[in-house]
Structures are given as C-alpha cells and as structure tokens.
Symmetry: D2
C-alpha cells in the first residue's frame, strides 16, 4: 500500500458525489485517482469539482487499475455483487453501498469471493456513523442503561419514491427498512431471532399496485428476550424522521431529529421550532464523512472494517423475513 | 335528581381517596354523602378529611341508599361486576374503575344489567382526560395531522408490582396494557382489527414464575389499515413513562412526559433536566379531576357518559387477544 | 393557639379567592372563619363556595375578632399598612400581599408596629414558592453552580394594565418588577448594592401619559460583585413569560416557562409546541398553595415566617432606586 | 478580475487555517494562491494541506502580488490596519478579521484609505453568518415579532484567556463583547444610542491585575427606545454559551446553544442532554464557511460586502463607551 491511498469511485450519482467530496477534501492521506459513471458528463463534472485525475468509461478498467488501492462502489444495487467480485479478484479494498444484492444467494457468492481474496470489505451503513446514534451506542456499550430490554426505531422518509423505482427496489423492507434492521443489530450488539411485520399501503396506491407497501410496524425479538419495534413510513410531510430509543434496566437513551437551527419563535399561536432536516444527504452529512474516515483508517491500521460482509448479509435476511411475515400473516424466525 | 348530586364511594384506597378529594373540594354541585371500605379506619380517615357524612360498613347498604344519586366504585376488580349490578338495580348512576372484570362473560352480564336498568355508566379510563392526550386527540379530530397512519404508545411503570399482586391481576395485558388498548381506540376514534404481541420476562423472574410477563411490544392493525405499536415495561428506573405519538398524512403529534419543573442544570458533565413525575397519582392528577368533572357534567346534562360500557369491554377483548397472541406465537383477530 | 388555626381573609378579589380556596380545601388544620370585602356579594359568594362561616362588613371587626388566630390581607395596596397595624395590635399572625405600601416611611411604621407586637408577618412573594424557582434556589444553595456570578430574570406580563390602574400602582417598578427585585435577593441569598435602569414606553402610549413606563432593562450589582439583569415588558403576546437563570463558577441553572401540555405538532411549516400558561393564577397555582401551606406550618411550628417584613421592605427600596435611576439617568445605590 | 478569483491569506493561525480550508475545499471559483505566517512551518503545513502554491515570507510581497485579487487578513490585531492600507493601496479586495484596531483614530485612517482606493472591505463578524442567528434576523426582518422592543444576548466563553493575552487584547469589551455589540446592531438593523456597563472580576484575579474584567452586564438603549442587555463571562464550565433573544410587539425569537448530538439519557438521577459545543471553531464552523462564501459572492457580483468598514468601526466605539461606562460608573452615549 502506498504512503497515500489511491482510490477510485464507481458511480457519480448523489451518493457517489458525497463520497468523492469527502475523500477529496476531508480525508487526509487519500488520493482520489479515478471515477466512473455510465453518464460520462456526471463523472466529468465530479472529477473537475473534486480534482480527480481520470474518468474511466469502463468500470472494470477502473477497478482493475494496478495503481488503485481501494474502490468505492456507488453504482445501482444490481451491479454491486459483480463489482465486488471484480474488486476482490483484483485485490482491492472495497467500500460498497448497501444492499449487496436483493438475492441472498447472490450476496453469499459475492461474500465468498471477498473471503477467498482476503480483501477488506466495508458496507455503507452510514447511520452507524451518525454522531447521535454513536453516542447512544456508546452509552449502551458502557452499561449506562443497564441491560437493554426495548429498542424503538422511527424511520420515515420525507417523500415516497416513484412507483417505477419501487418496482426495482426489492420492496420497502430491502430498500428502506434494511437500515433499521442494521441499526437493530448494531445498537445493542445482539442478533434478532424472530420478527413480525404488519404493513399497509397508505401513502400512494401506485406503490401498492407495484406490489409493495409504504407503511409498516415491525416487531422483533432478540435472542436475549429483548424486544424491538420499528415503524416506517414512506412519507412524513415534516421531513426526514429518524429517531432511536434504547431502554434498559438502568435507563433509556433517546436520539431525536436534527433541526437546522435552534431558533424558536413564540407568537400568538404557538411556540414554533425548525422542522428536522429534510434531505438524507444533509441529515447524514457528518455520518457520510465519518464512515469514509473510518474506512480509510481501518485500511491504514490493517484492522477489519467496522461494517463487515456479514453486516451486509444479515439485514437482507431480516428484510426477507419481514416480507414473508407480512405476506403470510405470521411471525417468522431469522436464522443467520 | 336533586339540585345537588348526592354521591357515595365504595373503596377508600389510593384511587378512592383521589376521587373523594376531587368530589369533595373541586366538583361544584356535588355532596359526598357516604363512603365504604372493608378497612373501616381508612374509610373514616377519608370521611373526616373530605367531610363525608356517613361511613357504611356494608357496600350494599351504601349503594342502595335511596338518598344517593350516583356511586363511584373503587373496590378491587373482583367486586366491580357485582357492585355495578347492585347499583344498576338500585337505579344509580355509576362510575367504575377499570377493568369491569377479568372474564369477558362476567363483563357482558354486568353490562346487560346496566343496559336493562338504563342507568349511566362511566369507566375510569383516566388517561382520556389527561390534558396532553386530550390536546393530541383534538388535533387529530380537527384533521391537523390528516389521515392517521401510525400510532405509537410508550407505557412503562416506575416499579413492578409484587408477584403476589401479579397472580390476581389477570396478567400485564389486562392490568396495565388495558389503558393503552383504550388509548389506541380513543385517540383516533377507530377500532383495532388484529394484533400481535411479543412478550418477555426481563424485569423480575418472580413475575415469570407467576405466569405473567413484564415487557412487551404489541403491534396492532386498525380496520383502516393504520398501524400501531405499544411498548410496555413494568419498570422504568427514571419514572413513569407515558408517551404517545400519532402520525398521519399531514403531520405528527407527540405527547411527552411531564416533568415536575422546567429547571435545567448545565454543569461540567451535561445538561440535566428533571425526571418525569414518578407516581401515577401525580402524573394523572389533572386527569382524575377532569374525569370526575366530566362524569358529573354528563349526569347533570343528561347526556351519555363519555367513556361507555363498550369502552370498558373492548380493551378486555384486546387484552385477551394479546395474551393469546403471545402464548400461541401468532397474530390474533380482535372481534368486537 | 387552637388545635385548629382559625383564620380570616380581608378581600375577596382574585387573589383573596385563591387563598380562600387553598385554605378551605388544601390546608389541613385550618378553619376559615370569616371573610370581608367592600363588595359584600363577592364576599358571600366566596364564603358559600369555601364554606366560610361569617361575612364581616367591617374589616376592623374581622381583624379584631378574638376567635381569630391569623388574618390574610388581600385588600388593595392602600389598605395594607393600616390593616397590618390593626392586626398587629390585635396580636394576630399576619399574611399580607405585596407591597406593604408605596411609601417607604409608611412601610417602616407598619413594620415597627409588627415588631413591637411580636407577631409573625409573612409577605406574599408567591414566586418564591414556585416549584421551578425553588428547584433553582436549592441547586444554588447546594453549591451545584459554584459561586453565583450572573443572574438573569425575564418577567413579561401577557397584557398591560389599563392606564387608570397604572396611575394608582406606584409605577411598573413597584407594581411588577418588585417580584423580580425580591427574586434577585432570594435566589442567591445576597443583597443588591447598586442598580441601573433603562426604561421606555413601547407598549401603550397611555401608560406613558400616566407617567409610567412599560418596558425596562435593569442591571444590578450585588455586594459580592455578582451581576444581574432583569428585563420587563407589560405585554408578551405569547403569554406570561417568567424565566430565571443563575450562572456560577461551576454551572448554570435555567428555569423556563411552563406549558399547559407537552404536546408538540410537526406539520409542513414547523414543529409547534404549546404557548406558556397565560394567566398568573394558573402559572403560579402551585406556588400560591405552597406559600399558604408554608405560612400555616410556620405558625404551627412557631418559627419565623419564611418571607419576612424586611423581605417586604427591601424590594420597595429597590423599586424606588430603579425609578430614580431611570429618571436621573444614572446608577443608584441601594442602601438597606 | 480573473474567471477564478486568486486569493492570499495573511496568517496561518487558528482562524487563518479555517479560512484556508474553506477557501480551498468549499468555495467554488477560488484559487488559493499564497499564504504568509511569521511562523514559516505553520504556513507550509497549511499550504500543503490546502494545496496553496506559494508560501511568502514577507506579508507585503504577498499583498502586493499583482496576480492576487483578494487578501484575507488573519494576522494579530496590531497588524490589521497596516495590512488593510497596503492591500487598499494595491487595489485588492480585503477580508479582515475583527477588530480593525484597538484605537479609533487608527481604525479611521485605515477606513479612509479603503474608501479612497474604492476597494471592497469585509469585516470578520462571523456570527452574522451563523444559521440560527440568521434565522432570527430573517424572522425579525419579516416582521414576525412585530416591532423589536427587547434584545438579550448571552455570550460566555468556555475558558478565560491567559492574563498575558489579556494585556494586549484591548480589554474584554474590545476583545470579546465586540461581537455582541455587532450583533446588537445587526439583529434588528438599528443603532444603539446609549449604554451602561456593570463589570466585575469573578473568574480570575490575574485578569483583574492586568486591568481588565471578566464578567459584565451591559444595558443598551436603541434610538427607537428598544432596550437590550448583554451578559458576558470569560468562563462557562459547561461550554461555549452563545444565545440570543429578540422580543417584540408580536412575539419573541430565541436562539439556543448547539449541542453536538440530540441524544438524551434518562437514568435514576436525571434526564441528561449533551453539553453545548465547547470550541468556537466548532460552534461557528458553518458560519465561517458562510461568511467566506458570501465574501466571494459579493466580489463576483460586484456588490458591496455585507459587513462594511462602518460595521467594523461602530462596535469599537461601543466597546470604548462600555469601558468608559464601567470606569466612570455612569451611562455613556454612543455617537457614531
């Protein structure tokens, strides 16, 4: 590995650009060498902004570039598994956005490649790096709430996706709740054994016509007997609603939404505070940077990435269990 | 009915004394005539404090007293149904603490008596009269959150009951969650069609040995497709935790805990606010008064009580469904 | 002194009625014997509601009644000093609303009578009994904020008084800020040595025409070097604004406004909480009861009242200093 | 002016490095050409991190570089006026940290040079660009609080400066309160006519021995009759305390401190939230970037900078008036 890490990015969409900026301007010891996007103009614009030397038309060439130490995969989900395998074969360290794939068998094949190659792989569960959620997890880990007994996650998007997107998304559980499934495992460092999902179409009938749901309440039981509930909606008119609560034998930690300012206006009709941040890139701006810094630090220190391949696989299992539960009307075991 | 309502109280325990004080000192147009408690000293102490003329040793004589307009039943649950029937037969207006009985058949017989007698019966679901929850319900009723889609109730006691109490309580769902089941129906004025319960013993093994549970996550589906989750614990070390959230197509209303003061101390190690009120009589002090004022006002105005016999019956059904769900490991329909 | 304290009330206005209810219903060991008001109908209505045996047409007869142990003076300010002197001469314990008088010399004569008679006198600085402010003072007294260095008081009324009232009120500093002057001394148990007042007429020109002001910022220096600021307005459209902050070498305690409920509505345009309580009788309901309980307890225990005659005198001095400061445009010493 | 603005920085201390990073990585259309610091190593380190082409040993050569469009002056205060004059003579746009100088006459000479040269000059009052304070100002400007009547600023540092620093600082009013004086004018777009200061040494006797004070309460009167209070301390153990309140005829806007996360822990002894951000560079990180973006945008658009030379001068006047007030024990006029 070079003194400076040489990195390439596959995908110059919203999330690719975020990672590009964080790597270009805020991650010391990294040289962003190359970027690819099927939309070449997008790749070029990002390259200019972030001073990236090369724009590659072929993602394979980018990945196999011998000068590269690590690759950041921000392509659409359907390409993740293939590109992970290419990168593993080329002995690159890999950062990949979630999910690895919508099919468990495909996830497993990709992870097997990574394991054989012995390369580091970090999954993009950005919420683990949010300062508020990290604080909550640290308090839990330090025993400040005693033994965890109840976990509650509220996760509501500000706007529903177009029905067209829904069709290729694998369903709300795989597309959106997957973050909450990851949070469930990570926040108390414990595995879920069983879950039950109630789900409805209340936001947009077109989502129902596409075979998906847009509102859900999911209950989970941990192996320890601790219990958890998630509630999801595809549309919260007041903005991106991302809250977490962990309750235990000695206390409770609650993480609320993040408003843009603390200004509060008292007038004749009420005391009015700011809405929470609306857009996920703003809400998780600090988290995206922290996860990239962590990835680079793991590579430099030679330690295993803090979000592993298994961490990418289990939430897919959980999403599938949730889908089965809501379709079959019964609780479903999650077997890892 | 007299110019002044003449009322009697059966039971001088914690809740009986609360009602006695509210009726004696804060409810204009009421004369508290009599009180009964098997513990005569308790009845006498309450009578002295609240200037109640008679202490009756026999609850039946109290109830059948021709001078009495209304009776407030605060005896242990096992006596509720019998005393409701006595009061109905004697043509008294009835206020009764929840639940009517632990057996649905017994509930139904008592309600049939009330119906035949044509007397008013109000059930003691005090939380409906809490100023915060009333505000939430008013906002929902005014359409301020649009169509309700998700409801979330957090209900955690500050201290678990002794295992001995647990044995006669009918179980946590009938004893404690019953309030949350009532809240579920009332807050969005809609019936629950199906529910699923996960439950554990995490607080006190003696509760488990008594055949009960102390921690639960319950999911509910409304006929409208709206969804709801409840989480319960028998022990929150930080106090009585009573929160509510209703989310809809146009917004979300959240009701938090009530601290005794707004004092906040910033020191070297954090910004520290008051714990929520610990004791249910303090937390719901305003609610207990409001429910009694409402009962008396309904009697005076000749309108039906705002918490009906049916409102006492359905939460019992829901508690039974929850018990079946957790025992059989499957969602259960709630058929009214 | 009788087993039961026998008490009379002079004045059946807003504040007299509050004390009557608290003494009648919430203060064990007290018998409310008599009430007087020049408006006899008001006195009778209060007597009926609070079960007071006698309505006296002559305040002097009420005060000199040999059966009476204590008298509560809630008449207009102009009568306070005379009635204090009558009560002292008749050897009654005295509770008197603030201020004792608008003239310092008159205050001093009344206090001299009280001293000669050796009767207990408690002044009605109700805010000292507010749960939030008490919490703040306890934290200060326990050293939780170290040495006090800065005190800040925000005190804004919801509605300005009519200009007619202003004329007889002694001015805003004596009528309204006097509570804040008392708070300044009490909260850190320290005397003010010097103060400076800027004042304006911004709310109602009629107040200015009556020779008074309606908006002020007052700075105070304590003997210890600690500093303090008060801001006052006669009109806050969002309600009664009563906040306090004490900052010291080890921390800071802030007491905020008290909302009627904790309900918060998130919609498209903001996160809206309840306005603070609007009316002073609601805001300080708990404080009025606590001060009366404290007065009675002091009498029973034979200890000196917790708000002394001196506590009634010094804020008058401070109000006069503030008035001189704003008129002469310079800081003024407060000599006790 | 070039397509890309070419800029140089004088001073690679804490604030110089912040501006360097913001210009290098977050300000599109800018090329950072050169940096100077008497500590060459500091300049080189910053140049390497921010990819600045030149390190100049002589600030004059940097400023006079014909390739340069604008210069950012972050040197110690004693150099500001000279460097402003050099830059004006060389026809550079100027961004200068506050204050321009500790002597009013020197401030005026420097501003006269700028005026003669006709170059843009922006002063570094970063708090004007804080998102919370901007929100407050926008609400005031939109009339949401009606006519402003009271302004309150709390400004407390987390740590006192060393006594040695104090000696050369011009005193707390010029060094620290100057930001609050600027805020006073800007937040309601109105000039202060008179002020009064009480001040003490309560934090560190060494500060007193150096002839300065560390704790103050300052009252101000605006030409409109509106009033304002500032409280300052050099040491708040709980962190950097920066709050603002503007009260008017139609409402009140309050801006609170900014915590690093929204995590709140409820345990046996209280409900504990995060301390406010401790370090000014973290607290005002967004503000520093916004002010630099604004400076560059003003240059590109050819409009006058949003913080003018006069905006740099008046707070110096106000600080001097405060110093005179506290020394002479009387209110002092502020004549612009």
């Amino acid at each position: 590995m070079n003194a400076e890490l040489s990195m390439g990015i596959v995908g110059a969409g919203r999330i690719g650009r975020i990672h590009a900026e964080n790597l270009a301007f805020h991650t010391p010891g990294v040289r962003l060498r190359s970027i690819h996007d099927p939309n070449r103009a997008a790749a070029e614009e990002c390259a200019a902004r972030c001073r990236i030397a090369r724009v590659d038309d072929d993602p394979r060439r980018l990945i196999e570039d011998p000068e590269l130490d690590a690759v950041v995969i921000c392509s659409p989900t359907g390409f993740h598994a293939d590109q992970i395998e290419l990168a593993a074969a080329a002995r690159k360290a890999i950062f990949c956005e979630k999910p690895i794939d919508l099919e468990l068998a495909r996830v497993d094949r990709a992870l097997a490649c990574v394991e054989r190659a012995g390369v580091p792989l970090q999954l993009g569960f950005n919420r683990r790096f949010d300062p508020g959620f990290r604080r909550a997890r640290a308090l839990v880990a330090e025993g400040r709430i005693g033994t965890p007994q109840l976990v509650r996650i509220t996760s509501r998007d500000p706007e529903p996706p177009p029905a067209q997107y829904v069709r290729g998304s694998g369903g709300m559980f795989l597309d959106m709740t997957i973050h909450d499934f990851d949070m469930a495992r990570w926040i108390i460092a414990s595995e879920v054994s069983e879950l039950h999902a109630f789900a409805s179409v209340l936001v947009d009938p077109a989502i129902g016509e596409a075979g998906d749901i847009d509102t859900a309440v999911i209950s989970l039981r941990y192996a320890s007997g601790a219990l958890r509930s998630i509630d999801n909606s595809r549309k919260a008119v007041y903005g991106y609603d991302q809250r977490l609560e962990v309750f235990g034998s000695e206390g409770c930690v609650v993480v609320g939404n993040v408003p843009p300012t603390t200004a509060v206006l008292s007038g004749r009709s009420g005391v009015v505070a700011d809405l929470p941040l609306h857009f996920f890139l703003e809400r998780y701006q600090a988290a995206y940077l922290a996860e990239m810094l962590d990835f680079v630090e793991c590579l430099r220190a030679g330690r295993a990435p803090s979000v592993s391949g298994k961490d990418g696989r289990v939430p897919v299992l959980m999403a599938m269990a949730a889908e089965r539960s809501r379709r079959e009307g019964r609780p479903v075991s999650v077997v890892g």
